[in-house]
Symmetry: C2
Subunit: 505 residues, 2 copies
């Protein structure tokens, strides 16, 4: 081989690093860059010594070092060669998929990804994701806050803070909670990076693998995999209609579940609200059987007809209710701030777990939210968006009745973000409808996403929060068109049964 490719440029005889090492690194770089190819024969030591102007011992040491690094191989009586075999193998791409811990995948991961990519195209009217309308985020107020000189960040605001959250914010969150009838102090509050993180941490600190968890069916889409990832087995309590306390008691007696996860007010996705008497009966049952309740409450500020009943947390004299909420719906999702209200023992343990996850939530979000609340801007903001969302709910109800009334049933939710619809045709599936609907430019989430145990359903969820009334109306017209073209197919009985269960003999 041509020895001139061994460059002399970067050697420094005055360096504290010995020459043999400098030369070895030089050659190693050439081998790695493939300037010196695998299996190439390197020049004899003597020739190398002359080329670099060093002693023969230095040249020998250079090759020894390269051997140590597995970059060259000396064949006695033949010479020194760049390693081919193992060098080649080392260049194989890393088989990362096989090195990673397998990821729990629900059967719906695919559909949800599709939905998201459809929504990103911009042509589809999304009634799928449960996000508020970006045009009514309080961006201006937040900018004003940031631009207000007298609220400058200080150095103390930028360092590590306690895992439980920025203390002034926790104090305000306790006050917010108590306005609705609690008796929380800052010690009962943990700030979390969105209510999803709250749920994740609660699952981590309460669930041992094999524990049972009762959830509503349907329930919040991400709750099921979060509990399952912690090793929980899921028991389902039917959600639309009255609270089935007899079934819950049956579950408790049979399975001794670790906790009940419930969204009592304007439930996602069913829109159901549990009335006061049901709440009291639920608490009595929980107290009797010492059941822990996680009350998820992201929507109670979105009441369109009258105030909702008090939260379970407020009514709870037994002490077993843990409350969870978020600013993702009332302010904006990118804030990533939710909060947990619980006994101090639970907050302390939750913080220990949160330390591993992120030490504490980001200071800027907490500082800014604290300023926003401190200036009393929150109540007015809520009134404004509540009025707008109420109009959207009413427009959606009117359009659904007018355009789709024959094909589906629904009830008008008293609050929250969602209509939960059921296809009336006995042969219908919401997944078929979704395929046709996305083709026509409107999307929603099919019902099976909200259950732990269904592969298809006739239910689906429509979110009316993200778009203004006129867009919602157009979306529902498209939905009606999809329904009418599918109804013919369903009538013709063209729906093939794709999976038949045969006994394996």
């Amino acid at each position: 081989m041509d020895i001139s490719i061994f460059s002399l440029g970067q050697l420094d005889p005055a360096s504290s690093q010995p020459m043999y090492l400098q030369i070895a690194e030089n050659i190693a770089a050439g081998i790695r860059d493939r300037k010196i190819p695998p299996n190439a024969k390197l020049p004899p030591e003597r020739q190398l010594a002359i080329h670099y102007g060093v002693s023969r011992t230095t040249a020998i040491n250079t090759y020894r070092k390269l051997e140590e690094w597995d970059l060259v191989l000396t064949k006695i009586g033949s010479g020194t060669y760049v390693t081919g075999g193992s060098g080649e193998a080392a260049m194989l791409p890393m088989p990362w998929q096989q090195l990673l811990v397998p990821h729990l995948k629900g059967p719906l991961a695919g559909i949800l990804r599709e939905l998201l990519s459809a929504d990103l195209s911009g042509k589809t009217i999304s009634m799928a994701t449960g996000t508020p309308d970006p045009t009514i985020y309080p961006a201006t107020t937040f900018n004003d806050l940031l631009n207000c000189r007298n609220a400058d960040l200080t150095n103390a605001d930028l360092g590590h803070i306690s895992t439980e959250g920025y203390l002034p914010l926790r104090t305000q969150l306790a006050a917010l909670q108590n306005q609705k009838g609690g008796n929380a102090t800052a010690d009962n509050i943990a700030v979390v990076s969105g209510s999803q993180q709250g749920l994740y941490l609660l699952a981590k600190i309460f669930i041992n693998p094999g524990d049972y968890v009762v959830v509503e069916a349907p329930t919040y889409l991400c709750a099921i995999p979060t509990f399952q990832a912690a090793g929980a087995r899921i028991l389902s309590l039917p959600a639309p209609g009255p609270l089935q306390l007899d079934l819950l008691e049956d579950y408790i007696i049979r399975h001794r579940p670790k906790l009940l996860y419930i969204m009592p007010t304007y439930q996602n996705p069913s829109g159901r609200t549990i009335n006061l008497s049901e709440r009291q009966a639920l608490l009595a049952l929980a107290a009797k059987h010492r059941l822990i309740i996680i009350e998820d409450d992201p929507y109670s500020d979105f009441h369109y007809d009258q105030q909702p009943p008090p939260s379970l947390k407020t009514l709870d004299s037994y002490g077993g209710v843990i409350y969870l909420s978020t600013f993702s719906k009332t302010l904006f999702p990118g804030l990533r701030i939710g909060w947990v209200v619980a006994s101090e023992a639970v907050i302390t343990r939750l913080a220990l777990e949160k330390q591993y996850v992120d030490l504490h939530s980001a200071n800027l979000s907490q500082w800014q939210l604290n300023e926003f609340l401190r200036r009393g801007s929150f109540a007015g903001h809520l009134d404004a968006i509540r009025g707008e969302y109420q109009k959207r709910r009413d427009a959606t109800a009117t359009a659904l009745r007018r355009y789709c009334g024959d094909s589906l049933t629904f009830f008008v939710p008293a609050g929250g973000f969602y209509f939960w619809c059921k296809l009336t045709h006995p042969s219908a599936t919401s997944r078929q409808l979704l395929q046709e609907a996305t083709r026509l430019g409107v999307s929603f989430v099919p019902g099976e996403a909200f259950y732990s145990d269904r592969e298809e359903s006739r239910d689906f969820r429509l979110c009316f929060a993200t778009n203004p009334s006129s867009v919602l109306q157009e979306g529902i017209k498209r939905l009606a068109k999809a329904l009418s073209s599918l109804t013919k197919i369903w009538d013709d009985g063209a729906r093939t049964v794709r999976r038949t269960s045969k006994p394996i003999i």
Copy 2:
């Protein structure tokens, strides 16, 4: 009992809620508030009907409902009573400690809590925690950014973003990485909520319970519990001094570890930097045995003498190195932004896991950091703080030599935040020194905190970053005082052996 305590005030005959339920809720509230005490006898149904002006059937239904809620008990032939027994039991405090999943506690949790509370008193000079000096956080620059009208937040900046992070920031982080000799694109970058979160997620996606992980000993304090929480068994590779590749290969052959976690540059806590030739040899060994390396690199920008060698990630042609860093040291910890550089397959899997944890990191921090980097303020900021920290390192070295030279050995680190000291007295322990030192008003972290398997040691870590040189000097004087009073005790052999191992027969 006096029936007048059953208030009539809140009943509404026009309500859609039946009267019996309204009355039952009314009485239930009284029972919960203890206005109607446990075991009290309630008025007969007839009397209740008259009091509320309702039919006898309504009164009967009222008591039936209260029975259903387990609030009252009807004894035939005797009357209706508020439940005492079970009602009493339900008021027992929740035994939260027993309901929670046990928390892994290292033997040092206590010491670290003590340290932290000592530091919070304000009188102690802290050389314990590894945080930068708050007085040199770029708070002014960050405020200016926020106050600059032309960089206003838009609504799009406030919604959900991808779990991998804000795309403009990821693009800039890739560029930052490539300046140092990489070839990353935004697809190779995940923004995480501090490098602790990066480590947590990497442990989650790579470690199955029982897997071995090799770490340096001593190593980053939080790495050990993070890997252990994922179920890993820890193998220790001695850190001060040259890299022990023969031992590493022995571990690989014996235990087939899943990964090596290493901080090659200005290691926390030992200050050790692995030289170029060792880096190349390590990569050759990793390639030969297909070992995954997590390279943690929070300190390489803090070089005080000369540029450090290139990162393992830069030198890696094999493809098995995952790189992790943070802005907690270079900017400020409250930003909660770190980043991971890895193959796209790893980034994708890591994002799936991060979805559970917080959906994505907070937008405001990412947006603000992106602006800061975009304006080119970072390099100048680094130069400024590097100069200041270099002075502090030199002052610490001088003071240690002058005041403590007889009692401990150390080497001067070429970069980073820490001196790793060893007590020379054979009877010394760093925990004894810490007790005396905190009494005299200076704190540090005893060496055993950085090992997976030591209960005491003669090493300890001094952080020179948090305080200016004059304060550091005073801190070291106090340390010297603690040393001199303990040396007498150690000389007298007064150190009692607290634990003797006896065979159990």
